[in-house]
Amino acid sequence: MEQNREKDLRVAQTTFVGRIIASFTHELRNYLAIIGESAGLQQDMISLGGKSKLDASEYLKFLKDIEAEVRRALKLITYLNRYAHRMDFETSDFSVNEAMEELAALVSRLAYLKKISLEREFGPDIPIIHTSPALIQLVVYCLFDQMLKSMSRNSTITLKTEAVSGAVAISLTPRGTPAEAAEEGMCSGTELEQVLQSIGGTMTRQSDGAATVQLPFTKPAGG
């Protein structure tokens, strides 16, 4: 039983990592394509020139496009790098808001492709906690994945964090029209509850499809 649970968890984690990397590399290729075309256009102007010459402001626009894409790419790389380092240790001190911001940035394209918008409402003054950030991200991603598959386009999913009596609450709330045929999510409810139990967390689900994960405040390792 325990072996099966661990196997399911490993499969879910691997799938999650795979999806994040696939989405990341896809986005990065898009950024590089824009950079490549903008740089290529400058070359064309010089080598092909002729009637299609741009004026200085147009050149500037394309140079700024390159700069903007480099910034977008760097931001995404930073998030992916931080996400990868979450797995350096089984548990660590971390900011829930930072972990959720990073997760949202890495999965927002998956929502965009389904024309579903992912909104963030992060509460202020949430203390640093000590637990497994990678497992928390996995649980929240599983809930998000379930919602993506059960909502139709133009829906909204709100990712919210708040401090509630001795705990941090992370909730996901779907708003919009349910999909005609909802697909199955990546993880089962029992699996998620077991993962949360192993790190002292709990999960509640509301009738509107919203789900809330609660993590007890745990002192930072050094604190």
Binding site: H26, A33, I34, S38, G40, S52, K115
Partner: protein
Amino acid sequence: MAATRVHQRLAERRQSESVSTRKDIKVLLVDDEQAFVDTLAMRLRMRNLEVDTVYDGSQALAFLMDLPVEDEPDAMVLDLKMPDMSGLEVLRRVKKYYPRVEVIMLTGHGSDSDADEAQRVGVFDFLKKPVDIDTLMGRIREAHRVKLEKAAARVSGDDSTT
């Protein structure tokens, strides 16, 4: 009778040759990355292609709808992962309703299964972003040439190229 057919084929070939040296190969670019589409469109226009741009699959199908056959693009350069309607779905519909349009998929997505599926549906080529402009130009020209060959074969009743 046979001579007539040969003459007809020659006429078709001449027509194809004269058309293939035109400077107005028509291309439709379909990608949700607007900055990418707009810049690529400028570069292709600088190479004497006639380029139209749309930013999703529904717009692409709307663009093709009711277009007289002679105004259809010779090639469509199509992204795979787009919101709402995927490039594969657009490809399926294009091949069903506008089979004369050759489709080149240009994507940042690297899945072999998507490439296989696109191949099965009848994609002309499957390229990955970022692509070298000369490579893309070469594939567009080749798609145009194949389109003309198929058209010539249809006229002469020889459908072996389709």
